[in-house]
């Protein structure tokens, strides 16, 4: 068991008694207020979801820089583009199913092609939304944002990293898509843990040679670490690679961390098609052929249920990661 010193982990990762939980959307709420304090150009646009997106936290602090557009996500995106054209730094907030789900073309044309540095903040991503069901569980957002040129795509691992990513996005020159979740998940990182948009991090180093690499994005990092602990206990060498920025990929770090590996298992609370696993496969077939397995949603829609029931149903648990690793090793 070897966490990496350059990426300090929260003690709760190893010790359940010290575990702290928070939703990544809460990290957004804090991060966007910090960004607003640092830079008066930061504005937040809301589409009738102030509390659940946490944009209310910004509204309460900066009422004059908070804009309510109503239930109108297409207008939300294009109005933000106009505000960015006049020099502001707009963060647009809704559920990922609607933004970027409904307003994809407005984002593509008026934000990405038009090169306006709007920050698209998609909340309630993944099946962990729970009882609201399939319509509200965005599982395609990484894919549809990743294919747009000029768009940066970031899925933070926990609330702390979400805070950093939000603040960093404000200072980032390109349009950014930030992905957040509704439910509380374990805090994995600390305030001093590094985060830079565009960087990937080895967070768990194998004892043995030719490890299996678990490459995760978003809150699946905790699942990857749980699986890594169990795998190492059973004598399998694993390395955990944390890839919060799905686009652009940190190819140098990723190729370094996977060179000589037995194989790679990707983890994401997202469709397997078009997400992180796809992005990695695109990279590996060009540079170093590696066997892969994909832990993610296998071409299905979500449904109502409790988050843990849905994680079982959609095969997103540490058990599923271990099985994927075993399948790789059996090749």
């Amino acid at each position: 068991m070897a966490p990496v010193t350059s990426f300090p982990l929260h003690p709760g990762v190893l010790d359940p008694r010290q575990r702290e939980m928070a939703a990544t959307r809460d990290g957004f709420g804090r991060g966007v207020v910090e960004a607003g304090e640092r830079d008066a150009r930061v504005v937040v646009l809301c589409a009738d979801l102030a509390e659940s997106t946490r944009s209310a936290w910004f509204r309460d602090r900066f009422p004059d820089r908070y804009i309510e557009v109503g239930v109108a996500e297409q207008n939300l995106a294009a109005v933000a583009s106009g505000m960015a054209a006049e020099g502001l730094i707009p963060f647009i907030t809704s559920y990922a199913a609607f933004s970027p789900g409904r307003n994809w073309e407005q984002i593509r044309t008026t934000i990405a092609l038009n090169d306006q540095p709007v920050k698209v903040c998609g909340m309630h991503a993944g099946v962990s939304v729970g009882p609201d069901g399939a319509t509200h569980q965005a599982l395609e957002d990484i894919a549809i944002m990743r294919v747009i040129p000029n768009m940066t795509v970031v899925a933070p691992a926990d609330a702390e990293e979400a805070r950093k990513a939000t603040a960093a996005a404000a200072a980032h020159p390109t349009p950014v898509y930030l992905r957040f979740a509704r439910e509380k998940t374990p805090i994995v990182t600390l305030p001093e843990t590094p985060f830079t948009i565009g960087k990937a991090y080895v967070v768990w180093e194998a004892d043995g040679e030719h490890p299996v690499v678990l490459a995760s994005t978003g809150t699946m990092l905790f699942i990857a670490l749980e699986a890594a602990k169990a795998l190492e206990a059973s004598g399998v060498a694993v390395r955990v690679l944390h890839i919060p920025t799905v686009k652009p990929l940190d190819t140098a770090t990723i190729l370094d961390a996977t060179r000589g590996a037995r194989g790679v298992v990707s983890l994401e609370e997202h469709q397997v098609a078009g997400g992180l696993g796809s992005a990695l496969a695109e990279l590996f077939v060009q540079h170093q052929l590696l066997p892969m397995r994909f832990v993610g949603v296998q071409d299905r829609f979500g449904q109502s249920g409790k988050p843990d029931e849905l994680f079982q149903e959609y095969h997103l648990t540490p058990r599923d990661v271990i099985e994927a690793v075993q399948a790789l090793l059996a090749e």
Partner: protein
């Protein structure tokens, strides 16, 4: 001449009270979901399932049935409650709302429960689908009617107005829409979040026939729907003025009840209030 006999009206009012009771039981069992909108629409859903619709709960996909499209899918618990009492499925099944494996999905899904006609939840899409159905019915010479329930909040969405324009263009007289004009959405009162008025004039300008009713008055609900059938040249919008949370005085008009369910203690209080209300409604003299 009234459209309902006293007996019919009393029967509907009594069923609406039962719909509200089942709805609260469902929400508390689910532990999540929406309270205000569904309570406010209990009378209209009751009128539809127990008087207006040509439908057959034992044969939900009967070809000639009237179509009832729910655009603002988050209020579906009240639809499930009315459907359960109408015989589409059991009360017990209604009480599995939002649970894993249930047909009572948090937002309605056609592939899971075909009788809901379409999948909704993302706002602003229902009226377009209803307009498409109405046009298709006309092209195919079908006589069934298309009803679309929509909310005031989803009139923020451009998609809604695209549908309004389309239905006006094609003079979809077999389409009747009912707007839940309860004046609330998530962030507050509609006129604060995004002013919608004048709604009547907007619809009229888009070539719709417009009626305004008290959405808790059974006679007015039924009369408006009947009246719409006689409008041959236009689709009809019935603006139903409703009270969010209707039936539970302590939460009526309060937008903060948009998206949360009652706790167990609250539910017990709500149910007492609703049962008192139900008792006030006399038993029908004749069916």
């Amino acid at each position: 001449m009234p459209y309902l006999t006293d007996g019919q009206r009393l029967r509907l009012e009594r069923i609406a009270a039962e719909v509200r009771i089942l709805l609260i039981e469902m929400l508390v069992a689910a532990g999540s979901g929406h309270t205000a909108g569904p309570l406010g629409m209990a009378d209209i859903f009751t009128a539809f399932y127990f008087h207006i619709l040509r439908h057959n709960p034992k044969d939900p996909l009967w070809e000639d049935r009237d179509r009832l499209i729910l655009s603002n899918g988050h209020i579906v618990p009240v639809r499930y409650a009315a459907m359960a009492l109408a015989g589409y499925f059991s009360r017990e099944e209604a009480l599995t709302l939002r649970q894993f494996g249930s047909r009572m999905q948090g937002h309605p899904e056609r592939t899971v429960l075909p009788a809901v006609e379409t999948t909704s939840g993302p706002l602003g899409e229902g009226l377009s689908q209803a307009a498409g159905m109405a046009l298709a019915a006309r092209i195919q010479g079908k006589r069934h009617r298309i009803y679309c329930i929509t909310s005031d909040g989803e009139h923020d969405a451009g998609n809604t107005w695209e549908a309004v324009m389309f239905a006006g263009k094609y003079r979809l007289s077999n389409l009747t829409a009912i707007m839940d004009r309860n004046n609330i959405q998530i962030n507050g009162m509609t006129e604060d979040v995004m002013p919608l008025e004048p709604l009547r004039e907007k619809y009229e300008a888009f070539n719709w026939h417009v009626l305004e009713i008290d959405g808790h008055n059974m006679e007015e609900i039924v009369a408006a729907v009947e009246h719409a059938k006689a409008i041959y040249e236009k689709p009809t919008m019935i603006i139903a003025h409703t009270i969010p949370g209707r039936g539970v005085p302590e939460i009526e008009f309060d937008y903060r009840w948009h998206g949360k369910p009652p706790s167990r203690e609250e539910a017990e209080r709500f149910l007492r209030q609703l049962r008192t209300l139900a008792d006030v409604v006399e038993a029908p003299q004749h069916e």
